[in-house]
Symmetry: D2
Subunit: 433 residues, 4 copies
């Protein structure tokens, strides 16, 4: 999701398309509503895009792939926007260097919002006559909605990073009761749940939409294994830190250890040590670390080192998917972008030791599987072929969605992917053995 | 002025201090009035500071050097601002890395403007009782005004650079009649005016304020020389370009030639070649290059290469100052920040071949003199000692002020200085031989 | 092998240990015999180590892991050598920064050769009384021999790179008849050979030595597939080049495309276009590209792009190993370091269309499998635990050995690994579908 | 001298040309005689060139400017050498990137020595018939000799740097009695000697050779000043270090302070603190710092900071030259490259408090004067015009020669120049006030 999105959707005409389009679009602007115009411009590191850019790029996507193709007589909002808001599609021409997104104060936020309105009106007009539209239009419509939801998650994580860079530790939202309350009691110890192995089918096998990287479904041989029944908590992780985990190279991948030393890592991203203990930067500013909540904002290197220290390991993506099927994981009851009034944070797990918690929602779970094409995968033709295929090397798969993922955006077969060093997403750790 | 400011001012109590303070302060905010909040945040290159930062840093200067010292019971506006808005004073503690100024969306523009109001009110209260203030207060008051004027010039040039980075070529101000009119006729050919040499006294010798780098006044031996009676024009410079000036290493300093190749320079900063010829980015967006106007936004390397190509050379700063005295240069009639409703651009020279034009105003003139301390110079004690002295190596002196300099900020003895590669100031070329 | 080596060897006492030790050690110095002292010092890129360093580092390995542990009264040759010639073992203290290996002219080559003699004498003395040595000694002895062979391959490839940087294109060896003769006829077209799938056992399952990364043997599910019966040739690859393969982003991984543009890649490493066509730098200087020989010195990105262009794909490592078992691949008849008088180059395949050629030897074959731990893998305790485990992320597996691999160093289960951008090894392409 | 050399020499035919040529050429190879071939290849930092390169580049100079022009039928030794051994002459085509000189193991040292012999023989043949040669030939001959002497100084300093990078601290030469003996008694305190000012003539005014940067001689106005009668010693400098000189930003230029922090400077280059106190790396390996000897291997930033701490300043180059004339400085008795059997190090000054010591020899003395063209300077035509003129910005002048300068290479008017951060030359400090 550092980039990427792809389609594999049966076209369909449903009475709710317009309502769904508008709901998704509104969620993007709602995420930016608490921001000042100043916040929407900056890019404090290369992985982060300015919120103004996200609002415009998602709009460019609708304009480029749907309106220019299917809306007769559509007038592009501004001829330069294709250059300004293309993300990475070589098929669609040159574009602003990714590292320079944060130098562009113009177009202004107001212009970008006007761009959104312009495009939304044109889409609404099209959707008023759905029977005149071909099936491929609805495939692209579905893709556009999924794409916009992916950028909603990035908006949530990029906004957090942007605000974190100020020494003022500004709050995105005023503090809520819920956010500041620590768990009354420590979370229960993790238990190990057995998962039977065998020849397991992985990949998308349902009706409906999925990205192309979830296809084709195929069999893999999985040996029986055990999985922990919840995510690793801050208390668990603090034990690793206090045991010298960040000072002992034996737990670390070589490239992770080099990075740790170069960057001076001693804790997850956003953690700050103060007199009273450890704090972390949140959407409400600095708050005390909650021992019961899942640890988040860790790189693969940290997740892997923690697992080594704990005498366990990370699951493979096939194991994760097999377990999620085995435990009948569903989005219900998980922690999602909508769970907490746009204030994403992972929450402590339920105490039931026999159930498997938090598989969907809360934190993306690092797996020890490289993000490669499934056997038989092929890239789509045209610009959409650039979405997923070209990223299928040098990254790792994450599974399960997070507290910043829109709830109806997730699936058990969903494959997210990031480089091993990334920490600004809501990434977490689940152990296997 | 890439940094720097210093004091050498007889203290005095004048009825107009408050009015002058308010006039200077108002000019800073007036310069930012045409901007959107988005424009005030970004830092597209390290030399440029966000306008919001300029507005805050100048305010921090008043708070730090005057209010904290002389206003009993003064409450600092925010305890973190000293860290956020210190520019380069090691004496005053750590600060935001210069390259990271553009990542800080907070404090917001509105907060910075409130900071300005807070400080202005406290200053006004102090100035209501001038007889209770010591002489040193007025020295610092003068320095603060000069400092704020220096940042006004930087505001003008930084705003230009910021807006230039957008492919939309946004206009800072709507186009005025004046800006878009090309000179009716070509400017007259430059003439050579003789300047007698001898033992000349340079440095500040008047009453009133000057920076410490203009002191002490001292004698230098200057051989008789000739100076051109006007700045090099765009037409002159185009001849150099068309003669292959950017492709022939023989005209260039070695480090300049390497830079030209690495950066792909083929024209001054802001120039763009289009179907109809050369255009340049201005405060009004893209406008055609006016052949009669002085060439500007050239580095020392380009100024020097042009001079070599023209069979001439750049003057030394002693020559420049001697000539300015000889020709009785005064600010009147020059082109200044106030000349054109905050729309800075150098203008064509008067046609009189016997007079020396544009010595003050229009463009800072590169000299072939390193920015070194004058004989007998000594740094001031305390934090103010960091203003000028620590920059006195590896830079070159520029003289005369520019169309972005406040008119009452200039003097014949004024020494500005930049590294040889800098182009975003209104720098120009005058030939000597 | 960019680093790394590990042990899993039944200890044994054989009459031939000393002879084998001496044969291996002699091969290392023989590889350096054609070099001048000057050639043994330089490091023209970070992946390449100076030959002098290889000679010393392999010696340090014997001294550190065997002599210091098992030779009573052994005197280290020089106390600083542990710092100078440790490669990457954090367990064994600080060391010369890898990028700085090429700045050290001292110790001189003669000193390094004396170091080798000193250590060889001590080892020979130990091996004179094998019955006094414990089983673990022989495990380490085997590991040391394997380690030294790995560095022999690096010596061959690093020497090639070092000599290639001189515009004189110096020859490591005088030209031989064999090297310069082009294949009389074009190589036969590649054929597709079917490989049955099923649950296949991969990993080391024999008697004898293997590295820890080949363990444990385990089952994987492999779908039936087809494999080409020979490596991709220079003629094949030229067709890709001539079809615009290096100019069409659609064939490339995103990171590969960015690299191609940044580096200006238009052909494999060492290829030079001259009037008469394509040449390549070899151990004999510049020679014409032989259309019938396997293409080599390609990155994973190039191998993958070629496969995409050809409508095929790279095999996974499980597929490769399954095929190698299926076709009973053996080292006999392959092209190895010893095949051609220390003059490594891959040779054209036999013409039989029904056999599978070149699986072992000639070129390391890029697979589309990340270099990860096998299920159940665990790192060894102590310094030797750093050899393989810490590299198991962000690299890709290569299989089969090359013309620079010592013949008795290879196995079907052998896992080599490099980052996707590396080209200076003898890497090649085999297609699957 | 970081580059550069130029001519202003009356042609003359003298019986000793051949002998002088051979003496100079022999000195270059003599400097390399103690080296191993390995030492002649490496380039541990960009300012340092491999000794092999120096030996070849000086030879290329003779071939290019003399033999190709004046020796009928001369055959170049190798057609690629012009590319390999051109230093920075754009007029003469492309060349090896300066930073890559240390990656070229070939041509071998033996080939370079053969190149020298080839060129020397051709030169000797030419010089056998001096009456057939034009005056311009002898101008270039003189220039070639001066050029080679400049590279002898660089050979001495580059060799020192190269050997210093090995933790073995290898000695270039076996230790001599002289080198290791500390001064019996502390050196006498420095005294201040008055120098009268006035209109002083600077620049070369003698018969014979000088570089073009010493011309034209011209008048400058110098105010009366005082100069210390000797160089600053290690004992003096240790007092600065012990007083916290490297930890107090107030003494430092801003760019120097930033560099100090980035590089972690706490002492001059080559100094190492050990149990017994401070040591420095020398041509004999590590030796204790001699308190009485002049401090050397300091940057301009350190020299300037020391002067600020001491309440003094560095002289300008006009002051230095005026003083050298006033005190009748001569090379006799100074410490030069030949003084100590090619083992350069500055020596303690004579104790006479009324004389001015060490003006010529021992250490190059940093001045506070930018390296700019003298008034009226013009670049020569052709390739030789690139020698000096293109470096005349952003560097500082040093005066007086050092213990690594050939004795007959120096003049009072000689202008050496380096960037303010350079430390690997034998640079030192003399105070003025």
């Amino acid at each position: 999701m550092s980039s990427t999105l792809e389609i594999q959707s049966p076209p369909r005409i449903a009475p709710s398309w317009l309502a769904r389009y508008q709901a998704v679009r509104t969620q993007s602007t709602a995420l930016c509503a608490p921001l000042l115009p100043e916040d929407t411009v900056v890019q404090p590191m290369i992985d982060v895009s300015p919120p103004k850019w996200h609002l415009a790029h998602t709009t460019w996507f609708w304009e480029t792939f749907l309106l220019r193709e299917y809306a007769p007589g559509y007038q592009v909002f501004h001829p330069e926007y294709a250059f300004l808001f293309n993300s990475y599609y070589n098929s669609l021409g040159s574009r602003v260097n990714r590292a320079d997104r944060g130098t562009l104060s113009r177009p202004a936020l107001a212009d970008v919002l006007a761009y959104r309105n312009h495009v939304d009106a044109a889409l609404a007009a099209l959707l008023a006559k759905p029977h005149e539209l071909p099936a491929t239009f609805f495939e692209l419509l579905e893709l556009g909605l999924q794409h916009e939801q992916q950028h909603q998650e990035l908006l949530a994580t990029d906004i957090k990073y942007i605000l974190s860079t100020s020494p003022l530790a500004p709050a995105y939202l005023p503090i809520s009761e819920k956010a500041n309350v620590q768990a009354a009691a420590p979370v229960a110890s993790a238990t190990w749940l057995p998962v039977p192995g065998g020849i397991c089918r992985v990949g998308f096998q349902e009706e409906g939409f999925c990205f192309d990287n979830e296809l084709p479904a195929h069999d893999v041989l999985v040996a029986p294994f055990e999985l922990q029944n919840r995510l690793v908590t801050n208390a668990d992780y603090l034990a690793f830190m206090e045991a010298g985990g960040y000072r002992d190279f034996r737990f670390w991948m070589g490239e992770g250890w080099d990075l740790l030393q170069a960057e001076g890592w001693t804790a997850p991203l956003y953690w700050v040590q103060k007199a009273g203990g450890w704090y972390r930067f949140t959407h409400h500013g600095l708050l005390a670390v909650d021992p019961a909540a899942p640890v988040t904002h860790v790189s693969f290197y940290e997740a892997d080192a923690y697992a080594n220290w704990a005498g366990a390991r990370l699951p493979t993506e096939a194991e994760w998917e097999t377990a999620a099927c085995h435990f009948n994981a569903t989005p219900e009851g998980g922690t999602w972008l909508e769970s907490n009034a746009l204030d994403p944070q992972p929450l402590p797990a339920d105490a039931d030791p026999s159930a498997c918690h938090q598989l969907l929602g809360d934190c993306w779970e690092w797996t020890y599987s490289a993000y490669h094409a499934y056997p038989g995968y092929s890239r789509a033709a045209g610009a959409l072929g650039e979405y997923n295929g070209k990223f299928m090397v040098n990254q790792l798969v994450l599974r399960g969605g997070s507290c910043a993922t829109p709830e109806n955006h997730i699936r058990i077969s969903y494959r997210n992917f990031f480089h091993a060093d990334k920490r600004w997403q809501f990434t977490g750790i689940r152990l296997a053995r």
